[in-house]
Symmetry: C2
Subunit: 221 residues, 2 copies
Amino acid sequence: MSSSSFKHDLFTQFARIGKALGSANRLKILELLAQGERSVESLAKASDLSVANTSQHLQQLRQSGLASARKQGQSVFYRIAGNEVIRLLDMLHHVAEKNLADVERLINTFLTVRDSLEPIPAKELLERVRKGLVIVLDVRPREEFEAGHIPNAVNVPLEELEQNLNEFSPDQEVVAYCRGPHCILAYEAVARLRKKGLKARRLADGYPEWMSAGLPVEETK
Amino acid sequence: MSSSSFKHDLFTQFARIGKALGSANRLKILELLAQGERSVESLAKASDLSVANTSQHLQQLRQSGLASARKQGQSVFYRIAGNEVIRLLDMLHHVAEKNLADVERLINTFLTVRDSLEPIPAKELLERVRKGLVIVLDVRPREEFEAGHIPNAVNVPLEELEQNLNEFSPDQEVVAYCRGPHCILAYEAVARLRKKGLKARRLADGYPEWMSAGLPVEETK
DNA sequence: CTAATACTCAATAGAGTTCTTGAATATAAG
DNA sequence: CTTATATTCAAGAACTCTATTGAGTATTAG
């Protein structure tokens, strides 16, 4: 059957992508790329790898169709190849949270206070926003925020959160969200806010889910 | 920052799943599992690997949370860990089709006749079914078919297609579908039908998309 | 033109993965 | 109790992947 060779070739191609997802360092880099375009050096610094090593990982990501690159001057800027890659990463997180006991444990121990950990559902958030009870924090990159966000949300990309921590009052509850329901940015924002003694929670879903649930949306023009 | 160790641990866990997806043979096995529960020996035969090797791959799939197992008598039956795994695989196919030129080329050369290759959109199919112009072929496993399918569709799981090829008349157009829009089962069904000289096309989307588009659905009780 | 910067390339040691082989274990059948 | 069947385990050869090192290339700044 000639189909078996076709199938084998096809699976070999799929495996290229799988392989690219099979290294913690590469996933770390992808996560950074998902926050926006970045140069090799900046990625190397942020992921704590040597420049040469980072460059090699980036080339693998490019060859497996997960990232693409643009040269400007002496710098090369890499970015996520498309939205489908972000959805693939989200599914990866989802499967990990659901099927790997270690992951659930990790997340729980990191977010220390167990009982206030529950993510807030979209509908509940909407009511509380209307009543002015919570500040909604959007930790996605600026461009994504501007393309559409939850009404009255404040945009503080994760990188800038540290510098803006003082802007939040300790009495006000903060609800953070980002892309998917498994987006690590939101987890991390919550963790950092809590460390500063703030009341912080996560939105149960991310922006795509909010949008496709038909909930109100605001755009920056 | 203690968060960096947390993040590293988390990515290491995610990478376990990535690694599991990073082998053509393991993906082949997963694809078989996606068609239904199977024993180690049967998987070994179907994927043309030694039993010991298959067993090792299956253990990796289990440890990475992609598959689970059940022992019955002297056999061990493995199955896909959950629906989220099927969606993960679908996203993997999607990214591959979209971002790897090799994959598009492969699919096109396999489905030989380029001009009749276009998948049929859901709405068009619905009309043609009403007029009795096409046979709709559901190649998913029996249980999934019974849980819900396109009205008047015929269920022939891919494994049984070869034996039932004579049931189709050469004048009747056949439209095959399965799970997601990137499900390989449908591609393969179309290829096999065409090889027999039948007029075969693929539905542009899979059953989940058909359902969530609010199109009519039939159940076997 | 020279130096500095940003990145890639090539070679390589060490670690990890794959597949094979043969033995070990568990269950069922005679 | 013995044998057959289905699966797993363990060890090892061949191969692939990762991170490091130092050199090489391209672009900009002085």
